[in-house]
Symmetry: C3
Subunit: 140 residues, 3 copies
C-alpha cells in the first residue's frame, strides 16, 4: 500500500526554548497546512518522554527521562488523523555518557535547542484509522 | 567520489504485518525500478536482526534480538548491485525500557507496523563492487 | 522562526577510508558551495567521538569511543557560520553487541566506510550566531 508524491516545499527552522517538541512541530505543520511529508530534528532536550507499544496488550507505556539529553535523531512522517495534520515521530536520545534511549516521541519532551527540517509532499495524503490486527491507528 | 541527482518521486507507504523488513522494502524498490534514492522507516518489529561488520576479520556477525522493539530510526540508500536495485540500510531499535540496539539491518527483522518514505533520485545510479581495503561491496 | 526552501540538488557519494567524518563532509559542502541543506550518512568508523552539551555549564564535553563501530544514523543540517557553510550533525553508533552511543558529531570520528546523501536547498540560508539563553550558536 503506497502513494506517490512530489516534494513541494522544504522548511527549516529553530524550535523555541522550553516548548514541547511534538506539540510545537504539530503546530507548525497545522499552521502551514502540511498534509503529507517528513520531519527531521536534531538538538537537545531538558527532559525526554518516549513511549513503547506493548504489542500483546496493545497499549502504549511511557518512559520519562528526567535529564538533559541530546536528540541523536528524530524522524517523523505527516499524514491526516481525524482530518487534521498529524506527526508520527520516533526519537533517540543520548545522555552525558553517550548512552542512548529511544522509541515513539511523546508529549513532555521539552526543547533546550532544536533545529528541524520539514519536507512537504504534494499528493493525496494518507488518513489514519484503527487497524484491528495491531490496535494502532495506521494508514488506510 | 560523488554523483549528482534530482528528486524524481517520493513514495510513502505502510508495510505489511509479519513481513521481513529489508526484503519487503527491496521488493518495493525493485517493483518501482528505483535505482538511486533514500529510504526512511519508523514503526515496530516483532524481532530485530542487525549485523556488525568485523573490520579486521572482514566478516559480518548477526545479533538477533528476539523481542518486541520500536524502530527508533531506519535509514538506507538505494543503488545497484549485480545490476539490480539494492537497499543498504542501518537501523536502531528501542526496547520497553527505551534501551537501544543498532547496526546494519539484516533479514529476519519482522514487521509489526511500519511506515516508510522512499525518495527516488534521477541520475546515474551507483554500482556496488568489491572494495579490497574494507572487504565490503562499496560504490565504484 | 522558519525559512522556506526548494530542493535544488541531491548528492550521493562515498567517503574515503581513514578520513575524519565531519571534516570530510564539511569539505564537500564547502566545495559545492552548499549553504542550506540536509546530510545523512550510514557506514562504519574506526573510532567515534561525540559531544554532550552540558546545559548548565554551557560547555561541550567529548566522549571518545576507541573501537570499531557501525554508524546507525547520522543526520545533519547545513547553514552558514562566519559566512562559511557549516554542518551541524548528530550521530549514533552501534558496537559489536549492538549497544548504542550517540550525540553531537565531533572531529576525531574516523571513517572505515561511509555513504552519504546531501540534499541542497535553494533559498536564503540560516546564519548562526550566539544565543544567550543556551550559550549555543543557533540560527538567527
Amino acid at each position: 500500500m503506497l502513494k506517490e508524491y512530489e516534494v513541494k516545499n522544504v522548511y527549516m527552522g529553530r524550535l523555541p526554548y522550553g516548548a514541547d517538541l511534538i506539540e510545537e512541530l504539530t503546530e507548525i505543520v497545522k499552521e502551514k497546512k502540511i498534509k503529507a511529508g517528513k520531519v527531521t530534528v536534531i538538538g537537545a532536550v531538558k527532559q525526554g518522554v518516549i513511549s513503547f507499544y506493548d504489542q500483546e496488550e496493545q497499549e502504549y507505556y511511557d518512559e520519562i527521562f528526567d535529564e538533559k539529553l541530546e536528540i541523536a535523531n528524530c524522524t517523523g512522517n505527516i499524514s491526516l488523523k481525524d482530518a487534521k495534520p498529524m506527526i508520527h515521530a520516533h526519537i533517540s536520545f543520548g545522555n552525558e555518557k553517550g548512552e542512548m534511549f529511544g522509541g515513539h516521541l511523546s508529549s513532555g519532551t521539552i526543547i533546550f535547542a532544536g533545529e528541524y527540517i520539514i519536507e512537504e509532499f504534494a499528493g493525496e495524503p494518507f488518513k489514519r484509522g484503527l487497524d484491528k490486527v495491531t490496535g494502532l491507528t495506521l494508514w488506510e
